[in-house]
Symmetry: C2
Subunit: 214 residues, 2 copies
């Protein structure tokens, strides 16, 4: 029923070793320098020629497909913990804190979630699933009366944009600052803090346009 891979094709021993070295290097390099890091740096750090890199990963995106599922699994862990929290607000807070903590650990993930790079394939799938789960966390917190009722799931996207920049800029000099910024933001998301909003949330169309570009 699932037809997993058309032709798994076992790799030759040396090729498998090189693939692994490339993946390790790519994880490091993307994590440190972001998703636009030069591929040649990855090849160099893996101790492999640029040709071999392209042999195993014909595009930059192929790396992402190989790297991010694991990272996004960590995110799913965060999601589950959040949904399991006895208090809905605490769950919501745990979710965003966990999410941003992951982004703060990995510049590549930060770039990916901030939509600074067009996700495709596996990564896009996982993002969709993640967003679906986030919706549940948001609705639950709203229904409990603690998260302000006009905070829509789309607003999470905006929040991620905002925090991703704070994380990026303060990463070296003050790696915890994003928590302070988030705390301000969260204080504005409590029902008791809510004042009328001046602008409607992103529409579905705007959302996908925003995702499409770049």
């Amino acid at each position: 029923m699932q037809q997993p891979a058309p032709a798994p094709k076992p790799l030759r021993a040396d090729a498998a070793r090189n693939r692994d070295k490339l993946l390790v290097a790519a994880t490091e390099v993307f994590g440190e320098r972001g998703l636009d890091a030069p591929l040649e740096e990855i090849a160099r750090r893996a101790g492999v020629s640029i040709g071999t890199l392209y042999n195993h990963f014909p595009t930059r995106e192929a790396f992402w497909d190989a790297i991010f599922p694991e990272r996004l699994a960590a995110l799913e862990q965060v999601t589950e913990t959040a949904l399991a929290a006895p208090d809905a607000w605490d769950g919501f807070v745990a979710f965003v804190e966990g999410l941003f903590a992951l982004q703060a650990e990995d510049r590549g993930l930060n770039d990916a979630l901030a939509q600074r790079f067009r996700a495709a394939g596996e990564v896009e799938q996982a993002c969709h699933r993640g967003f679906r789960h986030a919706e549940r966390i948001i609705r639950r917190a709203r229904d409990s009366g603690q998260l302000r009722p006009d905070f829509e799931p789309q607003d999470l996207v905006t929040l991620i944009w905002a925090m991703s920049q704070v994380i990026r800029e303060s990463m070296e000099a003050a790696p915890d600052q994003w928590r302070r910024c988030l705390a301000f933001f969260l204080d504005g998301l409590r029902t008791g803090a809510a004042h009328p909003l001046p602008v409607a949330p992103l529409t579905q169309g705007q959302l996908s346009e925003v995702m499409r570009s770049r």
Copy 2:
């Protein structure tokens, strides 16, 4: 007492014309594409060779020094309006809204204020002055009891990082979204909304380190 310019040197008529065309083009190009726009695009749009561009503006920063003082004057206008507001909180809100509205109009200014590029010379001076004024606006709003007392002037820097990314990402598809995001944030900055913060504000040292890098 002031010794304004060591040698003003009147330009030849055609040179002055070219300089103007370059400034107009640079304002457009930086405004549309950000501070890392290719200089060759500016020369092209000015209808002038790349050599002439370098003749008038030997570095990218020279353009900024020529362009931004005017833009930053608009910011000073915003500042004054904010300080003149009868209500201190309204003044604070007017200040941040005015600031981000300017950033939303001009990708270059957005880049500059988000510290995405090392400012130097005139621009840096103007930023310092602007920050000094912002401090007064913040203190005034705190003293009035409306802005939460633990919001420090340094936190404005973080807020600017956050909003600059939101502005950049939503610029085309939903150019007003930043106002919604800011509204959430502002609701968290009212005294009534305040909960204890988990992290201390940026120290002076961290602040200047952050400014130094990139």
